[in-house]
Amino acid sequence: MPKSMRLKSIISILFLISAVAAVPSPAGADTIFGIGYLTRSFSSGEEDTVYKLKTLMLSTGQSFDFSSGWKLKLEAGFALSNFNGLAFNGLPVSLEYSAGGMPGVALGASIGKAFWLLDEFVIELQGRVRSSLSLKKNWTLEGFAVPGNASGTNWWAEASVGPKISYHFFGKFVPYLSIAGSYFTGAFNMKEKLENLKASEKKTFKGKSFLEVIFGSELIVSQKLQFVAEAGFRPYKGGLDTILTVATLIEF
């Protein structure tokens, strides 16, 4: 991840933490275990081609409930980011990523606060950032007349902000709908070396969709155990991305 982006990610997360730190200490904290799958369509530079990132994320973290009403979640874990089909035609010998999930570190944070209560409905404002920083991966280029190798790293980050409407009529089962503006960006650096041919290409990309709609539900099993499941989509002109998340919140 470039320094500037790394800095932005850290600042974003620190901003969330400091926003919460400004309010009194948390009234409660849960440990989160989550698994998520998301697809994100993107384009790079002037290219017409629409690529699709598929990511599987396993994370753990803490959820903090503050007496002021703010809720903060901080997560870290493991991500497999699949950029299959991403072509690097800016290299002398074109390369196409077909290696499936590329392992990396996942970071995430969200913050929200209920602002309006109407009968059984609760409306809260929620912001979420999520990012992944891959480990460097090396490949041997086979079949050429000279020895060759390639190496690549990638990062991506997404942020969303919007209202979340939850319905509390059923007691322990709380369905909700979240509609948010969403932004996705990232980059993939690829280097290639074939004897005297040495080159690198950095593909920066932006998401095709800027809106996400998530249907979710919380199942409160007990004071100490809670399940959350979310399914959503991000439409864009000519396609649809999906989000699936399952998480468990446990109070130890």
């Binding site: 196409e96 990523y97 077909s98 050429f144 000279v146 690549g152 005297n196 000519g238 649809l240």
Partner: protein
Amino acid sequence: MFREKTTSTSFFGILLLAFSLMPGLSDGKAADRRLKTSQLQQKKNEVSTRTVRQKPLVRRQSRKMIKIQMPARIQTSAYAPDRIMVKFKPEVTIQSRENMIAAYQMRDVQEIPRINVFRMKVPEGMSVEETLALLQFNPDVDYARPVYKTRIFDIPNDSFFMLYQYNLYNRGIVLDITPEIQPQTTAGADIKATPAWDVTTGNPEVVIAVLDTGADMTHLELQNKVVSSGRDFVNDDSDATDDSFHGTHVAGVAAAETDNAEGIAGVAWNCKILPVKVIDQEGTGYYDDMIEGIIWAVDNGAKVLNLSLGGDVADPALEAACKYAYDNGAVMVAAAGNDALNAVAYPAAYDDYVLAVAATDWNDEVASFNNYGPEIDVAAPGMWILSAAPQWYVGEEYLPYLFVSGTSTACPHVAGFAALLFSFKSWLTPDQVMNIIRYTADDVNSSSYAGKDDYIGYGRINMERGLVPYKLK
């Protein structure tokens, strides 16, 4: 269908000379060899196009016999932006089906007969993906699919392509050249042109200068391919019309009119040809014309220079001209020579600026006539290569095509490859293009000489590896 031409032509003398220069190709070799040596001593700066073999001609009547049906395939990455295909389950009644279609606000619904599949336009304001996402949860729908695009393979429909152009796409056929010459070819012993054409068939702005005997600019394969009438340095005028066959043949290999349902396919379908005549009717020329021709071609926009010719003597002015081309962003490709000597011809031997090309055959065997040495960069098919020839040269009873052998015919394969690389990646430097061509070659003689060697350099060129993205797994 084919017959060896027995009548002599104005080029016959040159052919005798060419044959004589090849060890083992004629009984009169020794005498003619001496003749050639003395000539070289007298005319130090002479260059020539030494064709090893040429003759079997395609008879005109054969034109009617060839019909090639092109296969089609599905390109899975793209589909119609507004249409889908839906198959309903057999138990769904017509009324239910129509109600459902109306409820979804599908448009222009048509049944594809026999298989109970309906094609329809998606509702206004909805994408194909959204519509399919909705339909997949409908229990009455067996399946709903996008309408994928189809296209023909980028295999040209030129009538001789599948039958004779083993050099571009070798299916392992019997090459029916004459009743006496019918070699069995080995599948895959080719330059892998067809997958490379899926990436690019060339950009008309990329010009290949053919420094040779000129080009028949009225030939079906070239009339729409030449950017201008070129330059004739032999006769000092601006009409590089071929008064032989050699330049026409070479130009045809590099960039013949392709996918026009007739004749042959060129390596770089859409690239253009700039004819530069530096060799006379007899197949010989002089360094000064060649040097001037190189500089003129570069100054007139050529990105690739093909020189299926050469001389035996190094010359600083020639080297300076090659450097000029290189420094100005052009790739020079030159034939190694057909003398079977341990001495690569000039300008091919200028290793820093020029790609030196040897010849292989339909089995990826190294041609016996190649000159060899450390300057050899790559090889390409150069045995019985079918390409264009002037009608007047072959005679009215034959189609205007010739089978020719020699490093001369191998060379334009590499020039076409370079032109395709520039077409696909205009930002490449000459050095990068040269290295891509070298490093992506197939080491077809690795059992005898593993790695780069003096006979075919890095190997026989492989356009697929040079143009199709390498998959990182």
